[in-house]
């Protein structure tokens, strides 16, 4: 085996090592907690790891599409070293506005849908833009401001909902006017199954491709990544950091605005008090899991959706609270970032040994700084501050 092939194999192995390690750790920790609490760990895993039925598979794809959009929104920020913790608030207020516009049906058919989608993106971008503006003009950390904006959007949407919403027939819930039939997005059916795959899964795919192309293939994407890696280098090459912060915050918010739409146009058809919340925080975890990579985020989203769906019947089947899976998800996130760090350290050590061997006896490989710019590959530093 030649040297380069060997090196590539080692590289690939190291790349896969981190997620595998993280999954094993999450499995171990969850099992430990189950055993300590006196719950049947074997039965729990048998349920979670069983092959899902077709209906469940469709649910998994559906919720993965939503998670994917949320993960993408967070990843755009991460690429620029920005923490958009506010995806939650952005999608909530955007989904509400989209629901109102689509419900009013000012335009016929799919024009109405398109208008609502555009409006959702604009509202999401504007809401994230507040945090961006505060960051560039006043130096307020986007972490704190987006957290505050999340809480504000919750209250604002609750107020607007009460003001404009109608009572849903036959219940005490209130919601926006239902979207007319002609503007709903039809799903894909798979033979014999009642549950449909959201039509807007396509939207998630398109956004993923766009993200990948823009980040990796355009001048703008290059500037974005460069600024994320090293602000000083970016400034030296003529990039305006403030402009980049503003643009990436707006883009992140625009994508965040889409998060609620697959549910809105494919299932709920109106925005009510029970509209799914908390998708933004899952997005942070998923973006981290996928290393901000368009394909990686798909895997992360599928994994989270899989765990959610498979844990649903836990209460009925083995009388264990399904919240156990949240622990698993959280541990996966923490373990995966730790594992990447450990792998990066192993890689550095290997490289140093390699360099030492190349230079022959007498050279001192330890002179390479352990954490220097040459030591850690750039892509491992995306979210480090």
């Amino acid at each position: 085996m030649s040297e380069t092939v060997r090196a590539r194999l080692v590289n690939l192995g190291l790349m896969l090592l981190a997620p595998v390690l993280a999954l094993l750790v999450a499995y171990g920790v969850t099992t430990l907690i189950l055993v300590l609490a006196g719950d049947p760990a074997g039965a729990v895993w048998a349920q979670i790891l069983s092959w899902p039925e077709q209906r469940n598979l469709i649910n998994i794809v559906n919720s993965a599409s939503v998670y994917y959009l949320s993960g993408l929104a967070v990843a755009i920020g991460f690429r620029m070293n920005l923490f958009n913790i506010g995806v939650d608030g952005q999608y909530r207020i955007a989904a509400f506005v989209a629901a109102v516009i689509a419900g009013e049906a000012w335009l016929p058919g799919y024009l109405n849908t398109a208008l609502a989608v555009v409006a959702a993106m604009l509202v999401g971008a504007a809401w994230a833009g507040i945090a961006g503006l505060l960051r560039v003009t006043r130096g307020v950390s986007e972490v704190i401001s987006t957290i505050m904006l999340n809480a504000i959007s919750t209250a604002l949407v609750a107020y607007l909902l009460r003001k404009w919403a109608l009572r849903v027939e036959g219940s005490n819930d209130i919601g926006t006017k239902p979207i007319p039939e002609g503007s709903r997005v039809p799903g894909f059916t798979i033979d014999g199954v009642v549950t449909e795959i959201y039509g807007f899964v396509v939207l998630a795919v398109i956004m993923g491709i766009l993200y990948s192309v823009i980040i990796n293939r355009t001048r703008f994407g290059f500037d974005l990544r460069a600024t994320g890696h090293s602000e000083t280098a970016a400034v030296a090459s003529g990039v305006s950091v403030k402009k980049m912060i503003m643009i990436s915050m707006l883009l992140s918010g625009a994508v965040a605005g889409l998060v609620g739409l697959p549910i809105l146009f494919g299932d709920a058809y109106s925005y009510g008090a029970t509209f799914q919340s908390g998708l933004g925080f899952a997005g942070i975890a998923i973006a981290l899991l996928g290393r901000n990579n368009a394909i990686g985020i798909v895997l992360g989203a599928l994994l989270f959706a899989f765990l959610d769906e498979q844990s649903n019947p836990l209460q009925i089947v083995v009388d264990v609270s399904p919240q156990i899976v949240e622990i698993t998800q959280g541990v996966i996130v923490l373990a995966v970032v730790i594992a990447y760090e450990v792998v990066a350290r192993i890689r550095t050590r290997l490289e140093q040994r390699h360099a030492g061997r190349d230079r022959g006896p007498g050279s001192d490989a330890d002179e390479t700084p352990p954490d220097g710019p040459s030591g850690t590959p750039g892509r491992d530093r995306e979210v480090s501050v």
Binding site: L134, S141, Y159, G330, V337, V342
Partner: protein, 420 residues
Amino acid sequence: VSAVTETAAPAAERVGRGRRITLPIILLGIAVLLLVLSLLRVITGADDVASSGTISASIAAAIPIGLAGLGGLWAERAGVVNIGLEGMMILGTFGAGYFGYFYDPWVGVIGAVVLGAVGGLIHAVATISFGVDHIVSGVAINIIALGAVQYLAALAFAGEPGGGTSQSPTIGDLPRLTIGFLSDPLGDLEGQNWFFVSDVAAFLRALVSGLSSLTLIALALFVLTWYVLWRTAFGLRLRSCGENPGAAESLGVNVYLYKFIAVTISGGLAGLGGGFLAMVASSTYRDGQTGGRGYIGLASMIFGNWRPGGLLTGSFLFGYTDTVRLRSGGESVHALLLLVAVLLIALAVWQWRNGQRTLAAVSVGIGVAAGIWFLLSDTVPGDFTSMTPYVATLLVLAMFSQRLRMPAANGLRYRRGSAG
């Protein structure tokens, strides 16, 4: 993460910022505050703006936020950003619920601290030993903690009388302090509705009736934190880890150890804040009891410029706005609009004189809008009142962020031996 970017302040201002906060200044501040509130009460007729009920409820609301913020202070002074405060608080609520119900209220307090500290320890291992990004680790801890307590609560409380899958049975009370011979006459005085006198009486009455022992402990922890961090060698070393860990290490400080201690204490304090919510602010553990107070604690720490005194002020501000919306909310918050309008316009004048023209224009804009809102309406809708603390935080950060200075090496990854 740069929480704030500091602008070059003139030297004179820097000296001025070092002013000692002494007891007379604190008392003067409280007096001015009461004067403003009583003026507001008389002008607008919103009686609950400064009643003793509002004040003691504000104290109860401020303490958990303050404890979370104090946790943040310990961690960030040692250079570790702790956004996992929320999760550590959540662990604390469960610790208090579980140990408080099955053992004894005081064991519950200890349980809250210990569970919070465990959260802190996880954060320390991830960020210090493994160099994981601080915010990433914090977010993960928040997810884990939420799932963990919901799972454990369902397991622990489901079969108990008065308990459920998301709620614990009633926890026993911690002793409360009432000084009867002071409380009753002060109550009479408050009832007279005299300008200023009644408000002072209300304030004092809140301090001598039904004050929880945990409140006193929390206040003592503020003083203790100030003393330990700013008056002892241990504190100096700990703060040096947050300012310049490389230099600290070269002087023989075990940076990892200090950071570990700081972050673990941080978790313990946040856990105590959660315990306060479960045992004093209410008397059960409930799912979702923290309601984002960990984040608010973090915000009030930034508001307080990474100092205990400022943090305490910040948490009382949040506690007050949080409370006033519950006590004849619409009316009281409506009254506060007037105060906001006046303050912002005064601020604008000051900013204008400092040459910050754009900022002054923004302040006037918001101030006038608040004033018009006050004049054109009688009450503020409930949803808006629940926004108050968050909008206040954003406004304060936007207005004063340039005057804040966080520890220089806060949020940065540090690896042993990396200093030259």
